[in-house]
Subunit: 119 residues, 2 copies
């Protein structure tokens, strides 16, 4: 059936969470939010586009940093209230210049850093 972004379930602020996963490495890269227009734009342009809650504006990933996310496939969860974007990521996904935003882990009660920023 044709996909309609308005068929998704958005929260009270009109947003839906989106997980970005590297389509090649399967690494989970980041987590951000979209509204219905961002979902539609992402599908129309192939450039992953979030909604920035802090700036209250569209956030075309990589527009200022160059670290573009190209959409490989958009998936929807069972409750239609979360998205999984499989992406081709150019450069680091994280604003700290690391490949992924999830770069610390809890091990033996301590929080340890798993990777350094990319050169």
């Amino acid at each position: 059936m044709p996909f309609d972004p308005t068929s998704l379930k958005y929260d009270a602020a009109g947003l839906i969470p989106c997980i970005a996963q590297d389509a090649a490495s399967d690494e989970v890269l980041m987590f951000a939010w979209m509204n219905a227009d961002a979902v539609a734009q992402t599908l129309a342009t192939g450039r992953v586009t979030y909604w920035s809650r802090s700036r209250q504006s569209f956030w075309i990933k990589g527009e200022s940093s160059g670290h573009v996310q190209r959409l490989v496939e958009l998936r929807v969860d069972c409750d239609r209230d979360c998205l999984l974007a499989l992406v081709a990521q150019e450069g680091p996904a994280c604003h700290t210049n690391r490949r992924t935003c999830f770069y610390t882990a809890v091990r033996g009660g301590d929080e340890v850093e798993l990777m350094a920023p990319m050169a």
Copy 2:
């Protein structure tokens, strides 16, 4: 440094989103929410424990279904407002009896089902 669940950033409802990823297959399985106590319980018990927003109670994954998630590693993102739980999943993660909750994809403008429920 020692990990303290209260060092995470929770939303106005006291919740933080958590992505569950299969530690063996790297498949993203599901997305749910935790509060600080659920984070602490997950670490203490090794059983992934969410906070059910609909029931307003702890949700020890698999407690009723038997589809237990054992914690392999908990990771934290750069903004400390999202968690990634690497898990060992017994049986299907999704309440529809599918391996993952993300079982439809947008392809060529249509939404298609990627997998059937497990037998």
